[in-house]
Symmetry: none
Subunit: 219 residues, 4 copies
C-alpha cells in the first residue's frame, strides 16, 4: 500500500461542488450542518439556521425549496463520497495489483475511512441520525451502498478467501464482522472518546490484528 491512494483521494474530490454557490449559500450550508448535527433535523429551526448563517429567513428558501431539501443537499453528496473507495471500475485488478494480502487492504480501507470520518464527522452524524426517518435517504443509500459497496466488498472477501488468506465463511458474515470492527473503531474515536488521549497507530494495529486473527483460516 502506498502512502497516498491516488484513486481514492481523487474520488474524494467528487461532488465538492461548492462552486457556483453564493457566499450566503455556503454560510447557510455551514450553519445547517452545525445545527442539524447538534440538535437533529427535526429539532432545528430554519430561523436558527438563518440567524447563525447571518442571512434573512427568506434567503434559505431562495436556494432550497424546503427545509428537507436543505438536508438532502447536505447529506446526499456525502453518501457518494462515503462509497468512493469502492466506486472504481476494475476493482479486482486493483486488488490484485495493489493489495497482495488482506492486511494491506484492510489497513488501507481503515486509514482511509478514518480520515474521511475525521473530515466529515458532523455530516456523517446527521446522516446516521436521519436515515431511519427519511425514505428517500434510505432508498438512495440502499441503491448505492447495497448495490455498489456490498458487491465490491463481497468480491474482495471472496478474492482473499480464494487465496486462502481468510477463513471460509459466507461473505455477508465476514463483511459484518469486519465492518463492525472498523466502524466500532470510528465511533469510539469520534463519538465516544473524541477528547481522550488516543494512540491512533496502536489502536489501528490492534484493530487490524484483531480482524486478521479473527478471520484467519483455522489451523
Amino acid at each position: 500500500m502506498s502512502d497516498i491512494e491516488p484513486w481514492l483521494t481523487e474520488l474524494l474530490r467528487l461532488n465538492d461542488e461548492e462552486e457556483k454557490m453564493t457566499d450566503k449559500q455556503i454560510k447557510i450550508v455551514q450553519a445547517a450542518v452545525e445545527i442539524f448535527s447538534e440538535k437533529g433535523f427535526a429539532g432545528s429551526s430554519t430561523s436558527e439556521i438563518a440567524q447563525k448563517a447571518g442571512v434573512a429567513e427568506g434567503t434559505i428558501f431562495r436556494h432550497y425549496k424546503t427545509k428537507k431539501e436543505l438536508l438532502l443537499s447536505i447529506v446526499a453528496p456525502m453518501m457518494t463520497k462515503l462509497i468512493a473507495p469502492f466506486a472504481v471500475k476494475d476493482f479486482t485488478k486493483i486488488l490484485e495489483a495493489d493489495y497482495p494480502n488482506v492486511e494491506q487492504f484492510l489497513r488501507a480501507i481503515t486509514v482511509n475511512r478514518l480520515e474521511f470520518a475525521r473530515k466529515h464527522f458532523p455530516v456523517i452524524k446527521i446522516f446516521m441520525h436521519e436515515i431511519p426517518f427519511h425514505t428517500e435517504l434510505r432508498e438512495q443509500f440502499k441503491e448505492t451502498v447495497a448495490v455498489l459497496v456490498l458487491e465490491k466488498a463481497y468480491k474482495a472477501i471472496r478474492h482473499f478467501q480464494e487465496k486462502g488468506q481468510i477463513i471460509e465463511m459466507p461473505a455477508p458474515s465476514s463483511m459484518r464482522l469486519i465492518a463492525s470492527t472498523i466502524i466500532g473503531l470510528l465511533i469510539t474515536r469520534f463519538l465516544l472518546a473524541p477528547d481522550s488521549e488516543w494512540d491512533e497507530a496502536k489502536e489501528i494495529d490492534y484493530t487490524i490484528n484483531f480482524i486478521m486473527y479473527g478471520l484467519s483460516p483455522r489451523a
Copy 2:
C-alpha cells in the same frame, strides 16, 4: 454455561413497574414508544401520541409534565435493565464459578443481550437516537454504564488475560473490539436485516469464534 442465566433473567424483571399506572397511562406509554421510535422524539407530536393511545391530549400532561418527561420515563428505566447483567455484586465470583473460559462468558453475554434487544428493540432505538441531544440522558448513561459496566467489563477482561485465555492488550481496546463485534451483531440482526433469513445459531458461532480467535494469545 447453563441454558438459562438465573442471575441474569432475574435482574431483568427489575423495574417492570408498570403497576400503579392507569389503563390510559399504559396506553400513552405504548403509543409514545411506537411513535418516538418511528419518527424520533422531535418529529413526534403529543397530539399524535394521544390519538394513537386513544386519550385526550390533556391526559398525557396529567401524567407527564412535559413531552420530554414522557421520553425520559420511557428511556431511563431501560438503561437500568440494559446494564442489569453487570449490576451484580460479586462479579468476580460469578466469573470464577460460572465461566471457566472466555467463550462461555462471551456466549452468555451475547445470547442474553440478543434477547434483551429483541424484547426492547423500539426503546433501544429511541435511546440511541436521543442520547446525543439530551444532556440528562447522556449524564445518566455515563454514570451507570461508564462506572458500572466498564468497570466490571475491564475486570472480566483482565481476569481472562491473567488466566492466559486472551491476549495482553489494554482493557479498553479489548473492550472496544468485543463490544463492536457484539453490537454489530445486534444491529445487523434488528436494524439492517430484520426481515431477512438468518441462521441465528450460526451467526452467533461466527461472532464468538471471530472474537475468540481475534483475541487469542498469539503463538
Copy 3:
C-alpha cells in the same frame, strides 16, 4: 363619640357565616383569597387553589359550581360589610344623637373603615381589581353603595351644611373630596407603605384636619 361604635361593630358581625362550612371549604376560601389577591382572578388557577388548600381539584367544584362563583362568594359578603356603617335605618337620628359635629363623625368613619381595611385588606384588593371586569359585581356594588351609602352620605353632608359646619357645595363634590382623602389614607397605609413606620394617630389627625379646613365655611 364613644370609643366603640356599638351599632357599627354589631353590623360587622353580619354575614360572618363561615358556619355550616366544612373544614375543607374554609381552607378553599382561605387559599382562594390568598391566591386571587396575589395573582388576580384571571391569573389564578383552580388547581393552584386546590393545592394550597390541600384538597383535590374536584372538591372546589363540589362547593362552587364555577371558579367565578368562588370569587363572588368571597367578594360579595365583603361588600355588605363595607357599607355596614351606613346600613342603619335612622341614620339622621344617629347623626343628631351621636355626632354633634362633623369632626367627630369623620373621625368615627375614618377610624372604623381603617380597622375594616386592616382586617379585610386582601379581599378588598381582590374586589377593587375585579370590579371592572364583572358586570354582576358592578351592578351589585351600584345597587348597594350608590343607593345606600351615597344617599346616607349626602344626607349627612347636607345635615352638616345646614348646621353651618361645612361650606355650601354640591353634596357629590363634597363627598368626592372627603372620600378621596380618606381612601387616600387607607391606600397609603395598606398598599403603598405597608411596612414603613407610620404614626397612625398623627396621620389621622392630619387627615381629619385637612378635610375640616378644606371644607370649612370661608370667612
Copy 4:
C-alpha cells in the same frame, strides 16, 4: 400660570415613538390597549387581540417575543410620560419663576394631569391593574416615580412651606393629602362618572380650593 405650559407640553411629546412600526404593529398595539383595558391582561387572549387587529396571531409574536412583552411595550413608555412634568432639571427655578403661589402651581399640575389622563386613560387603567402583578413594572415605577416625582414634589412642598403659603407638616403627609385629592378628581371624572354631566371648571375650583384651605396655615 400661562394657558399653555411649554415645558410640560414639550415633554409630553417624548417617546411618542411609534415610528418604525409597521402598519400591522400599530394595529396590534391599538387592539391590545383596547382589550387589555377591557378585560385585564390575564383575561385577554392573544388570539382575540390578533383578530381585533386584523392580523394573524403569529404576527404578534414576530414583534413581541411574549404576551407580556407586548404589555410592557404599552405600559412602560406611559410611565415616562406620566412623570414628565417633574422630569425637568431646574425644578426650583421653574417654581420661582412661573409659580409665585401654590394655587397656580396646583392648578397647573391638576389641569395638566387631567389632560394627560383624558388622553391616556385606557393605558393608565391597564397600568393600575397590572402593577400589583408584575414585579418589573413595580420596580420600574418605584425607580422613576419614587426617586423622581417624590423628590421634586417634596421640594415644591417645602418651598411653599418656607414661603409660609402652606401649613408646616411632614412633606409626605402633605403630599399624600394633595395627591389623594387630585387623583380622586381624576378617578371620579374618568372612572366613576365618565358619562355624567360635569362642570369641569367648577369641580377643579372646588378641588383646588379644598386643598388650599385644607393646607392653609392655621390662624
